[in-house]
């Protein structure tokens, strides 16, 4: 049996770990609340924007804007949204699985240090690497969106796709691979989006009359489409951030619970060892007297 001192040392170290995980859990919990609130608050906006585009899609001429034109896909452009820090359960690993499933030589743009490390390790073609603060300011996402759209327009990449953790609730975050550009399959995609948010009542308005664009279709599309991409990426990032904090909180809670049960076992063992030592001593004294 391990000596009491060894056990005491282990108890101390487990206690330290518990303290750290507990603190991290609390921090993640408070950040999670904020991140979830902003992810949920932004949702109606993103939905309405998607609805708008869905209603628009069948009515505009695809040749009006490069974002609407289907083109031959040579190089896929993939945005991988990950976290900067680890200790958030299987969140990043799930994203990496999706990223690893992409076989052809796609170009990657990555948000978050973990994703950058993964892509560098697996020898992928990373064209850019962005960091985003914890509060997810819109301007930081706009930089990412503008960069990708620029690449898209130049023909460096032929699609814009995103891999990110979609926030469902505190316990469930789903890794999603979602195409953004070109928008030719927009209608289908918005239908999927509506499924994701099934709690909302369907708001489909059918109106097949000709659509008026003011000032004109070109101008409106040129303003709306890039705006849409940026806003959409923004909503994704909010969702990713909420997922990150939720995943971390859950992971840390599990770690804390594990530390607690380990501590219980160790304490029991320690008490037993101590009692055994005392009994031993008494026996020795008694034996000494008898002799």
């Amino acid at each position: 049996m391990a000596s009491t001192r060894d056990i005491r040392r282990r108890i101390k170290s487990v206690k330290n770990t518990r303290q750290i995980t507990k603190a991290m859990e609390l921090v993640a919990a408070s950040k999670m609340k904020k991140a979830q609130a902003s992810a949920l608050a932004g949702r109606p906006y993103a939905e309405l924007l998607s609805d708008m585009l869905a209603a628009l899609a069948p009515k505009v001429d695809g040749t009006l804007h490069p974002f609407l034109q289907p083109r031959e896909v040579k190089t896929r452009g993939i945005l991988l949204v990950t976290t900067d820090k680890g200790l958030c359960g299987p969140l990043n690993a799930n994203l990496f699985k999706l990223a690893a499933a992409i076989k052809d030589d796609a170009k990657f743009v990555v948000i978050g240090r973990k994703g950058a490390q993964f892509l560098a390790r697996s020898g992928r073609n990373v064209v850019a690497n962005f960091g985003v603060h914890d509060k997810v300011p819109f301007k930081e996402i706009k930089v990412v969106g503008d960069f990708m759209m620029d690449q898209f327009l130049k023909g460096e990449i032929d699609t814009i796709e995103v891999i990110y953790p979609q926030f469902k609730n505190t316990l469930i975050q789903e890794s999603v691979h979602r195409p953004i550009l070109p928008l030719n399959n927009l209608v289908e995609f918005v239908a999927n989006l509506a499924d994701d948010n099934a709690d909302e009542s369907p708001r489909k308005a059918v109106d097949d009359r000709l659509m008026i664009f003011e000032p004109d279709a070109q101008t409106v599309l040129e303003a709306l489409l890039p705006f849409y991409v940026n806003r959409f990426l923004y909503q994704l990032s909010l969702s990713a951030k909420a997922s990150e904090h939720s995943a971390r909180m859950v992971a840390m809670k599990t770690a804390k619970d594990n530390a607690n049960s380990l501590l219980d076992d160790l304490t029991l063992e320690y008490n037993k060892a101590r009692q055994a030592a005392i009994t031993q001593e008494i026996l020795e004294i008694a034996a000494g007297q008898a002799a």
Binding site: A41, L48, M52, A55, L210, I212, E214, V220, Y234
Partner: protein, 136 residues
Amino acid sequence: MLTLEIVTPEARVYSDTVDNVVIPTVEGEIGVLPGHLPLLSQVTDGELRVAKGSVIETLVIGDGFVQVQGDKVSVLAEHAIEENSIDENAVEEAMQSAQAELQDAKNSKIDPAEIERLESVVRFSVAQLLIKKKRR
């Protein structure tokens, strides 16, 4: 009846059925009545008037898009506030700090996106103040 929905990135500001609505767009104010043709236009900073029976509600909105589809009017705006909840002092303050920042930003030539954002704050503040003054 029209269904009007006004949404900003922060919240859903307005969602109700109304009789008609007047929206400030880049081409001037447009009035939307039931049965309007489908429309997509850009919204600019200004006053959005909603008529519901004999009541007229006023909101100030800034920067965005409006889509009319069937009898549904969707407004996506960067900012939106109901007239009654405008606090002139706060607006004045926000405008001044934005203007000061804008000056700094222009001098140091930082991120154009940031400048754009500040300008939009200033424009929105001006629109709010104008409407408050008009009511007096």
